[in-house]
């Protein structure tokens, strides 16, 4: 961590006071860290990956905006401002200091995405027939062209995300639309270096162009939902389908199939999938009438992919969980199937009332 020191021409008293304030703030942070609930503490890998993804996101948007804004400025003959625009600044640090990266939706999205990637990577592969193509590859070969095309698109979208992850970057159109929208405008704001109408116009044009190029439909989550819709599994097909997606290590498709069956959003199901206790996921599985055996198979696979899960505790409760009637389970999950904005409002209200 870099330690900032104040500029020199300041009175010693003031310097001493601000040093004391910094030490005090550091102590407060350390106390928060010490007493952080164990289940809220991020492990090192998750923390590092989320931080890296966030800074890569900001850097990518920043580079995009700077390049285009500079081109706009060159277009109006303002070479000096264009060159200044191309010099990288401290956008990430500025946004972080201003607290603008502490965006609940943004961090929620990144945490869930990284958790799903880590879990999917650790899921055990399951081979049903020796030497047969894997599940998604098989789907690309089926005669139903809508399913085959959606399966190819999912293979490609997952490949794009993995390739970007491994290169320490992010794929284009990484975030949900609202979050991407907000982040682009915030980065745009952080690019300003004083009031200058020409520069502001150039930055705004660049931001609009960046948003126009964004396509939420390219995200693996969206593509998986399209595929789930194309498959449109019948009730009795759901259990084997869900187990096949896990055996193919496609957690995104697992969540999509379940989300489609329950008429929920993908992000809702994904949140249930990464919860280590699994309470809501077990209800979701019951809501689509999965039986005891299928529930056990899902739980066993997920427990192998996520060391936080307690399969023994699950086994203890399996009989009770499997006995929950499907309509009761569906009723319990009904609030999560509400319109996204309605849910956001409910959640925001609940958050403020807990405080």
């Amino acid at each position: 961590m870099q330690v900032r020191s104040d500029p020199d021409p300041v009175s010693p008293t003031l310097r001493a006071t601000s040093a004391w304030a910094r030490a005090d703030a550091r102590l407060a942070d350390a106390i928060d860290d010490l007493f952080l609930a164990e289940d809220a503490r991020l492990d090192d890998r998750l923390r590092a990956t989320v931080t890296q993804t966030l800074s890569a996101l900001v850097a990518q948007i920043e580079a995009d905006l700077r390049r285009h804004a500079a081109r706009v400025l060159v277009g109006i003959g303002d070479i000096a401002r264009a060159e200044a625009m191309l010099e990288r600044g401290d956008v990430f640090a500025r946004l972080a200091r201003a607290g603008l990266l502490r965006d609940v939706d943004l961090i929620d999205e990144l945490l869930a995405r990284v958790r799903v990637d880590v879990m999917a990577d650790a899921l055990p592969t399951a081979i049903t027939t020796p030497d047969a193509p894997s599940f998604l590859v098989r789907l690309t070969l089926v005669p139903d062209t809508i399913v085959a095309k959606a399966a190819s698109a999912l293979l490609a979208a997952q490949n794009r995300r993995r390739a970007a992850n491994e290169a320490g970057g992010v794929e284009p159109s990484a975030l949900p639309a609202e979050v991407q929208h907000r982040l682009v405008w915030r980065v745009a704001a952080a690019l300003r270096a004083g009031d200058d109408p020409d520069t502001d116009r150039a930055i705004a044009q660049a931001a609009l162009r960046s948003l126009a190029a964004y396509d939420e439909g390219d995200r693996p989550e969206s593509v998986a939902m399209r595929l789930a819709l194309a498959i449109d599994a019948r009730a009795e097909e759901l259990a084997p389908l869900l187990i096949e997606t896990l055996g193919d290590r496609s957690l995104t498709l697992f969540a999509a199939v379940l989300a489609h069956a329950l008429a929920m959003d993908h992000d809702q199901l994904r949140a249930m999938v990464v919860e280590p206790e699994g309470e809501r996921l077990w209800l979701a599985l019951r809501a689509v009438s999965l039986d005891r055996t299928a529930m056990a198979q899902v739980a066993l696979s997920l427990s192998e992919a996520d060391p936080r899960r307690d399969i023994e505790a699950f086994a203890e409760r399996l009989d009770d969980l499997a006995a929950v009637p499907a309509d009761e389970a569906a009723a319990a999950l009904a609030p999560f199937a509400l319109d996204r904005d309605f849910r956001a409002g409910v959640a925001a209200l609940a958050r403020s009332e807990w405080r």
Binding site: P124, T125, A126, I127, P130, D131, A132, P133, S134, L136, V137, T140, L141, A151, S152, L155, A156, N159, R160, R162, A163, E166, A167, G247, R292, T293, A296, Q297, A299, L300, E304, I311, E312, A315, E316, L318
Partner: protein, 457 residues
């Protein structure tokens, strides 16, 4: 590190555990294991990890299949357990039965795959049907194919395999085995590349696909030395200190000097340290190679006692040999045979030869170092009882960067090249005599100072 593969370790032992967790029927291997753990017939399963898997399968009502490690007297056994509920009982099938290597974690090939990936230029993965499930996207741009369009296609759509009679790769693919350093070409651009891959297993140990890496094929080495002296010296200066620090830190993480670390991290640290040492050895060899490839390279020609050189080489490697359970027989003290050459270089050659011999010698065998006159020359021979070298390999093993068995750890393919260059620069030679299964004998010859008799004086 491989996942225990039930197909390789065919010995599968069966047992039945009843609803109360008692071992009611067991093949001898499981019964014996259970007895050694303090259990008895028709009593609760005494091997805790085995009991846990059986109980979990019964409670979940599904097949549970996983690797476990159990303490068995002085050893740790690595087992693969498949527990299948049958009514209230659970039927166990236990395979693997390998002793666990002390410093390794069981049942994951992740470390191996990570290592493979670290050195790769770009990557690919397949499913069990050898259809591509992942391809690095930027590789497509460089080699003129659409990486995303390759997904779901057979591996052979991407690579031309097994050209110029190179069958090992096809064999490895057919047998679903890991492979390394296999030449291939990218279909489309025709670029020559080197392929390596590790195997991914599913939870039952069946083949689930390859995790592959691609590195560019090395361009043919030009006849003239491609390394300028400045480059090599710069390399030496730039790498020696950082590598030393990497090795030092990795060793201290592995030794858990600053407190306990997760075992997997300690293993990674050991891998880092050993890779670092390998790189440091390579830097030494490159600096050496640069020196001896200069046209004016001429080591000093002095009278040296070759038996003394042989004894010293044996002495340097005695500890490593005894760690590997190998004995070194060196010339007796007092014997003396003069040759003409550079003491330091002759010692370097013999240390290299004895080191190789110790690496390949089977446990309990002896590496024999002998010195004798041979006409106008004096010979020092190093013989081992290892697996020997095929005659085709004997011809190329003295080439630059040649490695006979790339699956062997250590070695960068420069040691024998440098040794032979040195021997010839001193007016002598380095030759090998070997047959598969009959060990190998490397002989260093140096001119005798007294060619008329070739005897000691």
């Amino acid at each position: 590190m491989k996942a225990p593969d039930p197909m390789i370790h065919a010995a599968v032992a069966h047992a039945t555990v009843d609803a109360e967790g008692r071992l009611v029927a067991a093949d001898p291997a499981i019964a014996a294991l259970n007895r050694r753990a303090g259990g008895g017939e028709r009593a609760a399963v005494a091997v805790p990890a085995l009991a846990t898997v059986a109980r979990l399968a019964r409670r979940l009502g599904i097949v549970v299949s996983r690797g476990i490690v159990v303490a068995d007297e002085e050893h740790d056994l690595q087992l693969w357990v498949r527990a299948q509920p049958e009514g209230d009982a659970v039927r166990l099938a236990v395979s693997g039965w390998q002793e666990r290597r002390a410093t390794r974690l069981p049942q994951t090939s992740r470390g191996e795959a990570d290592f493979l990936v670290a050195g790769a230029d770009w990557r690919w993965e397949t499913d069990a049907a050898l259809r591509l499930t992942f391809v690095s996207i930027d590789a497509g741009a460089r080699h003129g194919f659409d990486a995303l369009a390759m997904l779901g296609e057979p591996l052979t759509r991407l690579f031309v395999l097994g050209d110029d009679g190179d069958l090992p790769i096809l064999d490895a693919l057919a047998r679903r085995r890991a492979f390394e350093a296999q030449p291939a070409a990218v279909r489309g651009s025709g670029t020559n590349v080197i392929l390596s891959a590790s195997v991914r297993h599913d939870s039952k140990g069946a083949f689930a696909g390859f995790v592959g890496a691609v590195t560019p094929a090395a361009p043919p080495v030009p006849a003239a030395s491609p390394l300028s002296q400045g480059f090599t010296l710069g390399l030496d200066r730039a790498l020696r200190r950082p590598l030393g620090r990497i090795i030092g830190h990795a060793d201290s993480i592995n030794a858990q000097a600053d407190g306990p670390v997760v075992p997997a991290y300690a293993d990674y640290a050991a891998d880092i340290a050993s890779a670092g040492r390998h790189l440091l050895g390579l830097v030494d060899d490159l600096v050496d190679m640069q020196a001896i490839e200069r046209p004016d390279f001429a080591p000093p020609a002095e009278r040296i006692d070759l038996t003394d050189v042989a004894r010293r080489a044996a002495g340097i490697l005695r500890v490593r040999a005894s760690d590997s359970g190998v004995r070194i027989a060196a010339p007796e003290t007092g014997a003396m045979l003069l040759a003409v050459g550079d003491f330091r270089r002759a010692l370097q050659i013999l240390v290299n030869l004895v080191g190789n011999a110790v690496r390949y010698a089977p446990v309990g065998s002896t590496v024999a170092v002998t010195v004798r006159p041979a006409g106008a020359f004096v010979e020092a021979s190093v013989a081992d009882a290892g697996k020997g070298i095929a005659s085709a390999d004997q011809a190329r093993m003295f080439d630059k960067f040649a490695r006979v068995d790339v699956s062997e750890p250590g070695g960068n393919g420069l040691g024998l090249y440098i040794s032979r260059r040195l021997a010839r620069a001193m007016g002598g030679d380095l030759i090998v005599a070997s047959a598969p299964g009959e060990g190998a004998r490397f002989t260093l010859t140096l001119p005798s100072p007294n060619p008329a008799r070739g005897e000691d004086q």
